[in-house]
Subunit: 104 residues, 2 copies
Amino acid sequence: MRNRDVFVGLADPTRREILDLLRAAGPLNAGGIASRFGAVTRPGISRHLRVLRECGLVEAEGQGRENLYRLDARPILRARDGWLARFGSAHAAQLKALRRRAER
Amino acid sequence: MRNRDVFVGLADPTRREILDLLRAAGPLNAGGIASRFGAVTRPGISRHLRVLRECGLVEAEGQGRENLYRLDARPILRARDGWLARFGSAHAAQLKALRRRAER
DNA sequence: TTGTTGCGTAACGAATTCGTTACGCGTACG
DNA sequence: CGTACGCGTAACGAATTCGTTACGCAACAA
């Protein structure tokens, strides 16, 4: 299974909707997820689920012929506290510089 | 100018590197940015800068024939405090559920 | 004015993405 | 056993992405 970047997983609006759904409704099987999407067919959702698996954002727990998908938010948290966090202080520094310039 | 999603802007590693560079080194002109990338030519960087502009992650301040690019971290902060923030508590809830299950 | 420099973009190719329909495999159920 | 169901995936098309090289325009320099 290919290993994908978290940000790639988040770049598609349908995938973000899937993550939102799993967060709000808890674990669901593939068909249950697909039935909530009018604009995308079930195989399309299945492909999105595969990408999400490759990003580690979702974990498939197959039991019998059904396949329960569970959200794993840890990659999101790692991104937030890792790469994204650097830009919080960057923005603060930028504001401070602007304020300093305004005072002159 | 097309309007693009922040997550699309962040999905490419070269673009993240550009943002990192602007954050660390302050505003730079296009050539100055491109000269730090061995693997991508200047027109390639120019296209990435366009995408970043379309995401609002970068602002071009043209003066004379040079073009200064400045980081704008606000879309990143909006993403962090908006869509991404929902998954912080999602993870906490998930942990709580796991702990509750472990107690039984 | 003439040359040079910095930058954007058109044009093109290869690869990837996102959606579809068609199919097959394994599980549950009558 | 035979049938129906749930799911993944192959195969394909259209659109997009990411990189290149070639070119052109405006600004500065000589």
